[in-house]
């Protein structure tokens, strides 16, 4: 079997009120983004606990993207600001563990920002591609490319 190019596996935690909707909008307006992201809908990024990020990396995710509402625009007032602080904490912890902190990133979009969300995903995939596979991932770098409508 010939090993294909490295295709990052990225877990994207998307807030129901913004990023998840904008991903939906990207789909309905035919805006393309790489199929490397596995989107998990969350009620608010403020619901994301430190251990969720840790588990994602432990299970072999090459990167984790947290997509929340624009600052000041959180449906629950300040959930996205809590998430920002938590993401920063985990980024420092990743460095302690020996992983690049760039593997975890938070972005802010509104429900109407399908293009910026796609651009953020493209940029994240690019960053992870440059960093290479997570040392915690499965041994085989070959991962079949999927298609997204």
């Amino acid at each position: 079997m010939i090993a294909g190019p490295f295709e990052p596996k990225i877990v994207a935690f998307c807030c129901h009120y913004c990023a998840y909707s904008s991903a939906d909008l990207a789909g309905s307006t035919r805006i393309q983004y790489p199929p490397n992201v596995r989107i998990i809908r969350t009620p608010c990024t403020g619901r994301l606990e430190t251990e969720y990020f840790m588990k994602a990396f432990e299970k072999g995710a090459d990167g984790v993207l947290v997509a929340g509402c624009l600052e000041g625009g959180c449906h629950f007032i300040e959930g996205n600001l809590c998430a920002k602080r938590r993401v920063n904490y985990v980024r420092e912890m990743l460095a302690e563990i020996g992983l690049e902190k760039e593997r975890l990133r938070m972005v802010n979009v509104s429900a109407a920002m399908a293009r910026p969300l796609a651009d953020n995903i493209i940029d994240m995939v690019d960053t992870i591609r440059k960093l290479g596979p997570s040392p915690l991932g499965k041994a085989s770098p070959s991962r079949k490319r999927e298609t997204v409508a």
Partner: protein
């Protein structure tokens, strides 16, 4: 409550590097409340150790358990099986918890995963402050409930020192002057006259003398 904070992952890795199987043992009391060694922190630190050890090429098997209280034999018993299954214990309890576990299991290496810091309170979300030095001879009644031994940088009993600026300590400008607080508090409760009493030098034998302290209560002994 006792307030602690976690050691860094490289520090912990260095501590446990001679073992293959460790138990990360949390405590459900003080360190849970100060978000340093409770059930959630056990999950986070165990996960971090698993990842760090895999990256370092020496994968650790890490088991997770949290008991109600590590400083109490009744609860320590509940960890017996898990402790038996592992090569060593990384305790996320305070210093008392770590030592209680170590005393109970003499053949098992027990390590501290936290740095125990002080007896304090939660001031606001994510901010803890020291309030008590456990000096063994409480003077709070003289000072309106504000401890000069803990909260005055110079531990003055006949303050203030004269160096404070507004209500800020001259030693650390981000801290409040304890004597300012004492004065305000005593004025608020109508007891400023207490400050006219000159307090003699303190007898530190209740704290820094004669080894570790013990309390014996004959009425409770069997």
């Amino acid at each position: 409550m006792i307030v602690a904070q976690r050691k860094t992952i490289p520090e912990i890795m260095e501590i446990v590097k001679r073992h293959d199987k460790i138990l990360v043992l949390g405590c459900g009391t003080c360190v849970t409340v100060c978000l340093a060694g409770g059930e959630r922190e056990v999950i986070i630190i165990a996960s971090a150790l698993r990842m760090a050890s895999r990256i370092a090429g020496h994968p650790l098997r890490v088991e997770e358990l949290t008991i109600e209280r590590q400083c109490d034999n009744v609860f320590i018993e509940k960890a017996a099986e898990a402790i038996g299954r592992n090569d060593a214990v990384l305790s996320l309890g305070c210093g008392a918890g770590v030592q209680a576990i170590a005393e109970r299991y003499p053949e098992k290496p027990v390590y501290a995963g936290l740095d125990t810091a002080f007896i304090g309170v939660l001031e606001e979300r994510g901010v803890w402050a020291e309030k008590c030095a456990a000096c063994g001879s409480c003077v709070l009644s003289q000072y309106g409930g504000i401890c000069p031994i803990t909260r005055c940088a110079k531990r003055l009993l006949n303050g203030p020192c004269g160096g404070s600026r507004e209500d800020r300590c001259e030693v650390r400008a981000d801290r409040q002057c304890a004597w300012q607080l004492i004065y305000q508090r005593l004025r608020g409760i109508g007891q400023v006259d207490r400050l006219r009493e000159i307090v003699p030098p303190r007898n530190w034998s209740s704290n820094l003398d004669g080894g570790y302290r013990m309390i014996l209560r004959e009425d409770h002994r069997i």
